[in-house]
């Protein structure tokens, strides 16, 4: 399974990569914002996206909307891992079609539980 981790902070990408690797995901790529991520998604056969919200140039919520609006990408599950904690934002992400929402700071157990739930639903 090919995963794309999108976050503007390299340390957070590294943390998520380590946690994902622990959960058995070994094919992981990185992007530092939505603008970098989108062409990678269009070019590669990614199966899963983990993205931050607050990033320069293209925000995570806009990346999510762009993924859902693109016929070839719209099926890809998107997990948001972000410090943005306003109820309005969570509702906005849900309406935009997010598959999971984790607020930072988070634990390895939370990430594992959300991933399990997402893939369980997708069957």
């Amino acid at each position: 399974m090919k995963v794309l981790v999108v976050d503007d902070f390299s340390t957070m990408r590294r943390i998520i990569k380590n946690l994902l690797r622990d959960l058995g995901f070994t094919n992981i790529s990185e992007a530092d914002d939505g603008n970098t991520a989108l062409p990678m998604l269009k070019a590669g056969d990614f199966d899963f996206v983990v993205t931050d919200w607050n990033m320069p140039v293209m925000q995570g919520i806009d990346l999510l909307k762009a993924i859902r609006a693109d016929e070839k990408l719209s099926h890809i599950p998107v997990l948001m891992v972000t410090a943005e904690a306003k109820k309005d934002q969570i509702i906005m992400a849900a309406q935009a079609g997010v598959n999971g929402y984790i607020v930072k700071p988070f634990t390895a157990a939370t990430l594992s539980a959300k991933l399990e739930k997402i893939f369980q639903r997708l069957g």
Partner: protein, 249 residues
Amino acid sequence: MSKSTSTSVHVSLEQARLLVEYLETDQQNKADELIAEIQNPIQIELFEEIGKLTRQLHDSLNNFHFDARLNDLATADIPDAKERLNFVISRTEDAANKTMDVVESIFPVVSNIQQQINNVNPLWHKLMHNELEVGEFKSLCLDIDVLLKTTEKEASNIHRLMTDVLMAQDFQDLTGQVIRKVIDLVCEVEDSLINMLTAFDISSEQNQSNYVPQLGENLVEGPIVNRESRKDVVSDQDDVDDLLSSLGF
């Protein structure tokens, strides 16, 4: 001449008689002067009022210039604060990377030891239950020998790496000091701005009660630092899950 607070013109009987006298004796200039004199109180009030306003404006402008510290703040202190905050970013990033370097180097070592324990375990289990065959004993001894040697070597290695992780946390002291200085600066800027508002007679308390900081595009705010006093944010992951499930997720 009495200073009247009223703006209406007060003509005394004496002044009226004088005016009639001037007009009857054809002294037009004197009559005009008298009229001007009667009107004077208004002008004096007007001039006084303008004078007062001018003084206020002058004082305000003076106070504004007087705060020369403002200039230092804008040209020196704030750029310095930006540099300090960048230092915090780079130090914390270095520390995080240093820590993760070490942790990532420990992961395979621990897996290796785990693997060797898994190798030893079946025969060890047999030994403990008196089921070990003589031929297997030698193999068990060799596996245990490898395990002991590896563990001994890696234990001291891990110990050294753990010390590196410990030392990587020294950023906290330095960044703490730097951030404290920046907080002092923010307080000073706040005082200066309040002084300026006061000088221009704009109350800082007027619009304070229900004010919420403005957000950027897409409502982005970053980490919430005052969760307890906020009603519009979730307090933890459970809150997020509850909210999402209430929306049918």
